[in-house]
Amino acid sequence: AQSVSQHNHHVILSEAASLELGCNYSYGGTVNLFWYVQYPGQHLQLLLKYFSGDPLVKGIKGFEAEFIKSKFSFNLRKPSVQWSDTAEYFCAASLGSSYKLIFGSGTRLLVRP
């Protein structure tokens, strides 16, 4: 079945540490990929998206993600995290011409000051 997998369910980092959250999808065709973030008490917000073109995508708040087609991956990165990055992060994909988002299970990030 088509799915999106996030490998880390909980991540704890100290401020200024580098972040990489894994995301893999299982689909052999065209995909559109997204990372959403949910800060405590807030609703889902889009961090970044990939539709086509440059596989290295830059988003808001210093986040970036790289689409590696051969690995079916779209990992999220940030060189130096801040306490305010504490949130839950969701990878999502829409497959082919579909508009439905398939979400990963989410990763809870805690950044210690």
């Binding site: 609703h43 539709f51 969701f90 508009y99 398939i102 979400f103 989410g106």
Partner: protein, 116 residues
């Protein structure tokens, strides 16, 4: 501008009762989606509306779930004869015309439904 709004923010209901959840999409957004976020299942797609086209109901978990969108704007998700497994946060999202290649879905704050 105003984002996607949902009401109520919280709803507690007794098992077997019907509930209605409301979504007001961003003005001008023609596509509207419902998702469900629950502990056991994560975020799941429920239903999708695009303009005047027939909705895609493929994600609805049972025939107790239905949704409508009146006038191409406000949407109501109805759950009949609620069960405890319906407890979840119900999220609404909207987006611009899907013909645009870089559409993105904007999410509302959700309605937390608790079935006792």
């Amino acid at each position: 501008g105003a984002g996607v709004s949902q009401s109520p923010s919280n709803k507690v209901t007794e098992k077997g009762k019907d509930v209605e959840l409301r979504c007001d999409p961003i003005s001008g957004h023609t596509a509207l989606y419902w998702y469900r976020q629950s502990l056991g299942q994560g975020l799941e797609f429920l239903i999708y509306f695009q303009g005047n086209s027939a909705p895609d109901k493929s994600g609805l978990p049972s025939d107790r779930f239905s949704a409508e969108r009146t006038g191409g704007s406000v949407s109501t998700l109805t759950i009949q004869r609620t069960q405890q497994e319906d407890s979840a946060v119900y999220l609404c999202a909207s987006s611009l015309d899907l013909a645009r290649s870089s559409y993105e879905q904007y999410f509302g704050p959700g309605t937390r439904l608790t079935v006792t």
